[in-house]
Symmetry: D2
Subunit: 346 residues, 4 copies
């Protein structure tokens, strides 16, 4: 059994990790970390775990935890994980960091967009960006894994093959993304109250959202050149789900079949990526509760653009599910272990 | 492998059966019946099954199906299953009927409340009412199983022990129930459109809802006398979940501990029933996606009444999950097989 | 023009008062009180008022306000208004208190249920309970008006005529109520976050909710005897609306027509009470955005009970609208002035 | 009093017309047309009008209606109004058509995108496109008014000034729009059921939505050249509201102040257009229930693009409200008459 510790277990992503790992046949959770709820039973904080998880929440002691755990998941605010990582810990255990601390290779960009001084930039180079379908080989030997952001996961997987194959013009990419409210976290903020979110849609972080440079970096690898793009997230009155609608100009005339072939050449063996049938638009309801990414596209000959669409469950493929997928890869397990829940609809 | 056929696979309960049975390690689905979608791929009707279920929908041919299947689930409107059941079929296969056709032992009551002539009353006596936690022994040998209604499951399990033990006055029971909209089915009706249901709550079927006699019959067995009660369902703007708030007068002064002990004596070994801690009210979000029933109660000394509360996922414990639980019992499998999904929140 | 000051203008009820009074042709708002947002423009807190209300929020200074205002609305937590009321203020201005401070005549009951020491019990006797359709005459001369709670308004109006006319047994009343989330206020609490409320229904405050004694007192006046009852509120995933489903045993056999006549004799001239047609259940969507109360009932001959149902918009007839209705009465205006917005659906 | 007839009164836009016109001091509704509900009381179809509107629904007889009414509103499917308009009718009455029949000047484009043969193209030239803030002068004398689509209203108003002033590159416009579900109408379709829409977001009509050529035509007038653009609508789980997020490349370097000045020069005297403060994103909740359009923008210097955002209530400014605004202009009334409802939040 892999002994896993979770720091930040009482956020939405942390609790989803608990849910997935509790049902994972190779894992035992040894630490439910939550500074806000120390000594409170985890199932009092998340009533769905009543009679299932009896443990109490513990403080965030990464040193102690590193001696007990084979892997530590940090589902914590930016700057937390990076303030604690050190060689002594990484010698004992693997770290899967769900925050953004080690996702961006250029520390200046990280510090500029996040407004933080990175405390341990010396580990950035070693950290592996855990977008499983793209970086599988590097993930296998990672000690420190940077689990991708929710928007970057959905955006990058939707666009990557077409950019890599030179079909679309990298300078024309516009990503319009929509997210359920669990992406905003469980903090007690007026803006996230039911009455504020319900019956509303709004954009936020326009031209300034911190997932922008993360997406740009990953797509730059695909393009082989520096990519700048527009990324606009929106808040949708639903619990879970991210939908990405991405636009780009085509560099040449392509047929539906050609584009489909490109996607298939990248993803046809990927368990968690589903390339939908022609003219079927991805919908978040059909991936909810699963680790799937539903992808499709539409060519608009009138404007010579292509519209790329992707849908994920932000808490699973966009956070906890991908973290488990990374763990599976890192520990040599079947990559789908513990992740084959079928999407639940309605 | 148990070969299972589903008639009515494209309703919400039917699709949930597909989801549960697809993940069930002892079951193979051999028939996706749907008169409305004959020859259409099941995954075109329910996009969550894309790449998971490739089969097409078939017509409702119970005779043919009975030769192929070890068990037939009928998730169909009232009057359908009962019009087709015959000895020849029951010799070949077991039937788990999710409709109300065989739930009520008194055919006059059935015909009065449902406004239907029962076509095969000769099978009513044989049919076993599949409330697993109450009728487990009879279920084991059932050929024809009447799967309980969603409201009756939640209502009966919440009230049963206190009535059986003579704590509450059977003549004072009032059940005020609230259900998510999936309980209204997938028919294209104006009343169930998003804009009609969202931002609204209403009672419906007041004093006339057809689950009333079903609850009354089950509670009559507990009381040892004929029970008449009020049952008022309400439609709530959410997808899944039933909450029951039931009221009754106490027949004698009892303490919290005494009542708790009674519930425990009935349910403490039941995997799917969770007796919550004192003062914790059941919430549908904490059972959503699972086969659990969360139960609790509150004594009001001022009025000498007790408030009994229960919560279930109407599509799982209230329909497909309980059907699978019954199948497990009928086929001698571990009763929890395929049903241990943890509740998904948020 | 009536000069009105609002203390607590940035809660949901306070903002609804702003909305109604801004559109009221006889009123000018002179004070947008909000301790949390002092010096912030009101329209920054509630973006719907952008370009409509330009004023800034002010501190809660009731002495100063009493010199400027003809009427002060206090939409504040329990204990606030009662801590400031004094004869000097009431000599200058009228007070309409939306909190519970002066609703309950028996100060011991108030102090017990609210867990507060009442600071100015000497004003309780003078205060008029502002249930307009019942207490219209006393309201006309009130200086200090206790605006009824949202649940008590809907509950009392639904039950009052039948109790007053001796049709129902006062000892058997059970009120099962459901409310939208705006009733929980705009405080930043985890329990009221979108993801916690959405896709959920729960009871709360079972047998302990503080609106219980308020309802009991009002119904006791109708019954002419002390009424004890059960009141169970539930939280519904919608913004606005309260639905009351109330149960009582009939004291004698009555027909539909007899009961209908009783309701009509009390309410047929009431602009804001709509007695629905037979078998039509009140729905919150059909009163949303209005000051209407929709009422109906169903006799259940099987159990000899009657089910009484009422629906209101909790922020309007349940709070700000009734406060304005009371103001209209107190100032001799047309009672419906500023309150004839039609319900908005969908 | 203006006598108004409504054909299609029992759709969501039709019912909103009823709501607005009922409260309009210069209007009397003389015809509640609804082929689906002939002889049924309008308030049985829309319960919010109980006790307010007592009339029954009538068949669609435009000839007869034209003799009674000063203005006819057609809130009907495409092809209906155009099949009935004739000179005899227009001599008697004015027509405000909420369908798309007369919005597009090039009949070939209409017929191609709508898949219909236009029955009366001879009236297209005369018809005035009723985007009030742009075409006010022509509207004054219109006999046949084409009321703009919901998406086109929000899109065009958000983009028009910048395009007209040559700030943005017309060939780069991408409009990503999001709508509440009332925009999908009140037809009984599975896709619009509560459980299908709730907890979901999806794009639809990608590169094929019929509002595309309408937006392109209006923006072409602004650009002085033919505009082709991408328009992608999305369905959001809420009742009302449209949010437009539009992207375009800047033709030259501009400052925030310069762009703001352009918007102000077009809209500063417009009652219904609110230019929000810097960095405040439009939100549909803050215009719900009103005729307002909230507009703002953000310059992204990194990509040299501008993001233009607009929010409306799709049933008011996007349909019935703008129709009333057009009626006010056509009849020489104050343009805001009957339209000054404040946005209702929450």
């Amino acid at each position: 059994m892999i002994k896993a510790g979770i720091i930040g277990a009482t956020g939405y992503a942390g609790a989803e990790l608990v849910r997935l790992l509790t049902a994972h046949k190779n894992v035992e959770i040894v630490w439910y970390g939550s500074r806000s709820y120390i000594d409170k039973r985890f199932s009092e904080v998340f009533g769905n775990f009543f009679n299932i998880v009896d443990e109490k929440c513990l403080d965030d002691n990464m040193d102690e935890l590193s001696k007990m755990a084979d892997v530590i998941f940090t589902a914590t605010p930016q700057g937390f994980c990076s303030s604690l990582v050190k060689e002594d810990i990484l010698k004992n255990t693997k770290i899967i960091d769900l925050s953004a601390d080690y996702r961006i290779k250029d520390v200046d960009i990280y510090e500029k967009w996040y407004g933080l001084k990175h405390p341990t930039p010396e580990f950035i180079k070693e950290a592996v960006y855990g977008l499983c379908e793209v970086n599988r080989e590097s993930i296998k030997n990672a000690r420190l894994l940077a689990n991708p952001g929710c928007y970057p996961t959905c955006s990058t997987l939707s666009i990557y093959p077409l950019l890599k194959e030179g079909i679309i013009d990298a300078s024309t990419i516009i990503i319009d993304a929509k997210s359920g409210t669990s992406g905003a976290g469980r903090g007690a903020k007026v803006n996230n109250l039911f009455c504020e979110v319900n019956e509303n849609i709004k954009a936020y972080g326009v031209a300034t959202h911190r997932h922008t440079p993360e997406i740009e970096e990953q797509l730059s690898y695909a393009a082989g050149e520096k990519v700048l793009l527009n990324f606009t997230p929106h808040l949708v009155p639903m619990n879970r789900g991210i939908l990405v609608t991405a636009y780009a100009s085509l560099k040449k005339k392509v047929s539906y079949g050609e584009v489909k072939s490109i996607y298939e050449s990248y993803y046809k063996d990927e368990t968690f990526i589903r390339l939908l049938d022609e003219n079927v638009c991805p919908e978040t309801r059909f991936v909810e509760g699963s680790n799937f990414v539903d992808i499709n596209f539409k060519i608009d000959e009138r404007t010579n653009r292509i519209i790329m669409m992707g849908a994920i469950d932000n808490l699973i493929k966009g956070a906890a599910g991908q973290a488990v997928q990374n763990m599976n890869i890192m520990f040599g397990l079947d990559e789908t272990e513990g992740l084959m829940q079928l999407p639940m609809f309605p």
